[in-house]
């Protein structure tokens, strides 16, 4: 535990697990929404600790921002306490435990974080880090003309938008579909629309 990055990692992840368990355990829905916001914030700091700035930014904006707002506005339309149910849900506990154990067993074969001998570091990352502009080699004249003649500084955006452009296209399509579904699901019923036109 002498490595400060590892120490902060462990501290943040323990706090995040505690927040998640508390969010599940409480029956007060407002408290649960706030605890999910705290969980997202702790995760955003964790990503920043691992030097993943883009992911940390997105997690803070979406998790601690938009998702909390959505949950709070949804909370205005429901009751404030969860319905009483059994304290311990056995089938859910067993399913979650089995899945967690299988995942832990699977990740024990992955190379260590930041391992210089890992296949991803040897074969794939140098191509992305030394990339020119996206997938294209800059010609001689371009190389002399300021920004982007030589190198896109943010490798994450280059990978996201150029090397893996299909993925980003379908992510955008998924977000668009989610918006369409919300519009379709929350239309007024046929009777209400007619009554609104008459009024």
């Amino acid at each position: 535990m002498s490595d400060p990055v590892l120490l902060i990692n462990v501290l943040l992840l323990v706090l995040a697990i505690v927040a998640a368990i508390a969010a599940m355990w409480t029956r007060n829905l407002l408290g649960a929404v706030m605890l999910m916001g705290i969980y997202s914030l702790l995760l955003a700091v964790e990503w920043a600790n691992l030097f993943a700035m883009d992911v940390s930014y997105t997690e803070a904006a979406v998790g601690a921002g938009a998702a909390t707002i959505l949950l709070l506005t949804a909370l205005t339309r429901t009751g404030s306490r969860e319905k009483e149910g059994p304290k311990l849900h056995w089938s859910a506990l067993i399913t979650a435990t089995v899945t967690g154990v299988v995942l832990l067993y699977g990740t024990s074969d992955l190379p260590r974080f930041g391992d210089p001998q890992a296949p991803a570091t040897i074969h794939v990352s140098p191509q992305y880090v030394t990339q020119n502009v996206g997938k294209v080699d800059a010609t001689e004249t371009d190389r002399l003309e300021g920004d982007f003649g030589d190198h896109v500084p943010n490798a994450v955006t280059a990978v996201l938008a150029s090397y893996r452009g299909y993925d980003t296209l379908f992510e955008t399509a998924v977000i668009f579909t989610a918006g369409i579904c919300v519009i379709l699901l929350l239309r007024p019923a046929a009777g209400q629309a007619r009554r609104r036109e008459d009024a």
Partner: protein, 139 residues
């Protein structure tokens, strides 16, 4: 409409700065952390703040509903359009270098900027629509 003078003043002061910052994050996606997703969420949160402070009618006058629906579709269409330009020019789908055959590196950067702009438009519109719908603006 929030009746508190303090909140209306400070929120009204903050609103343009949030939009400027969102534009900065969108355009700086290739240099630093940022890009389409983050900028879209920031734009949506600026308009949500405006709606909470000044009422839904004022926000509807500022940003009509048909415009939000239009930009939701335009974002995805922009992304696919940039891809189809590559097909039309004889190369593969989503090839950015055909946008400027003399300087392929600049064309790649232009392609990345256009694509991120499309993503930002769609994300902003969808999040704004979702919060509006859940907040009770049916139809």
């Amino acid at each position: 409409m929030s009746e508190s003078v303090v909140l209306r003043t400070i929120g009204g002061m903050l609103f343009p700065y949030i939009l400027v910052y969102a534009f900065y994050v969108q355009m700086h996606g290739e240099i630093g952390p940022g890009g389409g997703f983050q900028a879209g969420v920031l734009v949506a949160s600026a308009f949500i703040l405006h709606a909470f402070l000044f009422g839904k009618a004022a926000t509807d006058r500022l940003l009509p509903r048909w415009l939000v629906d239009l930009t939701m579709c335009l974002g995805v269409l922009l992304y696919i359009g940039v891809g189809i330009v590559g097909l039309v020019q004889g190369s593969y789908f989503l090839d950015y270098s055909v946008l400027d055959p003399a300087h392929p590196a600049h064309a790649e950067a232009l392609g990345i900027t256009l694509v991120e702009a499309g993503v930002g438009l769609t994300v902003a519109s969808v999040i704004l629509t979702m919060v509006r719908k859940v907040n009770g603006e049916l139809e």
